[in-house]
């Protein structure tokens, strides 16, 4: 059987439905990340949040980025974070007080900022905005190794530098060291 073009009664396209679901999940997971009392759970919610984003990228027709999102964020960053969490858990388990006492002020500030951004987006037309179009992986590859090759190189260096420094800072060395 074939699905109808639009959802009955609502008149939404299936994409819209998908968008709404993903958007809802995204916001929900994101909120869980920042509100969750248990930091480990926050980490897990973060993975879910990344996954939702991958879905959105796919919905936006950007396959390569969606894939990269899965690989880089879920595969690398999230895991890294989880490890860090494990390494830095005080025996007392999750910290009693999760939020800084300025949480309310923070909430207000965040809402204002978010509001501003949203309003601004709505208020102003984007002169160049046109029809929706998918992104072809070839084009991306061409750019990446064409005009943006320098950028590519620099990112390489950046990662190298990060690794070297990260290793140095994170590794436990017992060289005698006097605080200065």
């Amino acid at each position: 059987m074939t699905l109808p073009e639009t959802i009955p009664l609502l008149g939404w396209t299936w994409n819209d439905l998908l968008f709404l679901i993903l958007a809802g999940t995204l916001v929900g997971t994101a909120l869980m990340v920042v509100l969750g009392r248990n930091i480990i759970r926050s980490g897990l919610w973060l993975i879910l949040c990344f996954a939702t984003l991958a879905g959105l990228y796919a919905l936006l027709g950007n396959a390569i980025v969606a894939v990269a999102q899965v690989l880089v964020y879920m595969g690398a960053i999230a895991v890294l974070i989880l490890f860090a969490i494990m390494l830095t858990q005080t025996k007392g388990g999750p910290a009693a007080l999760v939020f800084h006492h300025q949480a309310w002020a923070a909430a207000i500030a965040a809402i204002v900022i978010g509001g501003l951004l949203a309003i601004v987006d709505g208020a102003s037309g984007w002169p160049l905005a046109g029809e929706f179009m998918r992104t072809s992986t070839e084009a991306v590859a061409a750019l990446l190794f064409g005009d943006y090759v320098l950028a590519f190189e620099i990112v390489g260096v950046l990662l190298l530098a990060a690794v070297i420094g990260g290793v140095f800072l994170a590794k436990r060395d017992d060289s005698p060291e006097t605080p200065g």
Binding site: Q102, A106, A109, I113, L116
Partner: protein
Amino acid sequence: MGMPTLVTLLLVLPMVGFVLTALVGRRLATRAGIIAVPIIVLTWLIAMIVVYTALSGGFGEEGLHFTLYEWIPAGEFRVPFSLAVDNLTACLLIVVTTVGMLVHVYSVGYMAHDPGRWRFFAYLNLFMFSMLLLVLAGNFLLLFAAWELVGLSSYLLIGFWYPRRSAAIAAKKAFLVNRVGDVGFALGIMAIWTTVGTLEFGEVFELLPEQFHAGEIAPWMLFGIALLLFCGAVGKSAQFPLHVWLPDAMEGPTPVSALIHAATMVNAGVYFVARANPIFSLSPAAMTLVAAIGIFTAILAASIALTQKDIKRVLAYSTLSQLGYMFAALGVGAYIAAIFHLMTHGFFKGLLFLGSGSVIHAVHEEQDMDRMGGLWRKIPVTHWTMLIGALAIAGIPPLAGFFSKDEILGGAFENGFYLVWLIGAFVAFLTAFYMFRLMGKTFYGPSHVDPTVEPKIHESSRWMTIPLVLLAIPSIALGMVLGLPLGEGLIDQWLEPVFEHAQENLGLTHEPVQLFGIDGLIIIGSTAVAAFGIAIAIRLFGFHWPLRGSDTAPRPERVAELTQRAPALYRASFHKWWFDDLNHVLFVVIGGRIANGLWWFDRAIVDGTVNGVGDVVQGAGRDLRRIQTGRVQNYALGIAVALIVVAVYFVIAVAG
């Protein structure tokens, strides 16, 4: 050797004396005067030559006037170092150099035992230089300079015994009080320059009257100038209200009192007003003021002199009184009389002071007359010479004082200042009285000298007695030499040309003296008044009649009784009408408060503001550093808020 060179030498010699004595004096030990005294004698000789040439008309109508070099060439303001000699100068030269020389000689004896005598002679020379510059100066500014320099030497000499605090204070007082007058003097000079554009005596006395008659100078301006200049004279000649310094100046060694504070420097004011007669005589108001101040000082000082105990102070107040006389004379237009009296007074007052010095010496530096008495036998020379001086100042014919004083009273009467004449006559009475009170308390009656000193009393050395004798001669004869025949004497011949302008301005015609007329009466009157004063004094304080050889005993109980009768007057006189106390309150107490107040203001308000700014800045820093709490979340929130502000600014102000 030309005259200018000689006149210049008059200044150079004392200066050289000062410098040499100051440099090598310390090594001269007892012979400290070996440079100073001869130099002054030489100066005297030269001065006499100059005087003779001047008075014998050697310099012509205008007198000698020459410029050494351009002192201050400031654009349009050019002041030459110019000297001038005319008959008036000559008259002053006679007094200054003669008394000066004699005082130098006298000092050799008087200071013989003072370790600092070399300083003394150096200062004396410096004074002679300044005083000669004062009388020779050819323009106002140079005269002002000399004016200040005599002030300086007087300061140095009053404070000669500086370890004595009272001496140091008296010296400072003299300088400061003079300065008060000099402010006016200086302003007067500025006024003259701004009006006529020159300061040379000759030119000023030409231009000022011209412009006045041309109506370019308002009478009030002229009066202003005269008034300002007179301030200087009041200060230097210790006239009311600036008279307070002179009595204290007696802290100085007696020769100094004789030379500076009796015979020469204090006359500078009289000389200057006389010199500036073309200006004063144009302003009747100024003339009246001069006369008023003069005669008031005369009576005031005389009234104080009546009761003073300190022999030198009596003489000091008498000096004030006599100077008042001179100003009165200047005020009434009797210029010649004023200068005449200046000269005679210079001699007999110098004599009296040196005599008092000799007395003080004899009784071992005792100055309180209540602790003297009966000295006439022990120090005869001093006694006789001082008697002559006393008679002269009392105005007993035919001594010097008689003639000059009589001319003043006569002048006052002639020119219609009857009040001046009246008071003048009364002052003459007082003068006679307190002088013989002095004589009586010092020389006659029983001795109150400290018994331990009594036997050691002896006449002073030749160095001191000879000058006394030499001064006694002019005190006797000068009046007759210069004053006779009355009204046409030498002095009149000498000085008439100097003052003819003034005479014209005042519209005074100099008619001959009628001996058997009003003048005669005045003469008799004043003489009688003086005699009366002497008589009373003799009755109260005793006397030794030379010819009869008999004594009149003093009657202290009568004196006491008299003082009882008018206690208020007595106290007023004895406390010098409380002028010193008034000044103390005004200037020391209140002035000090003001000064301290201002200093507080400076620290608390002015500087307080400056430091306050600094404190505010630092305080702001201390408060601002608190926003750095150290908590990242606070920082982040701060950034977020700032972000909101910036964003809102951009979205609202920039966009659209």
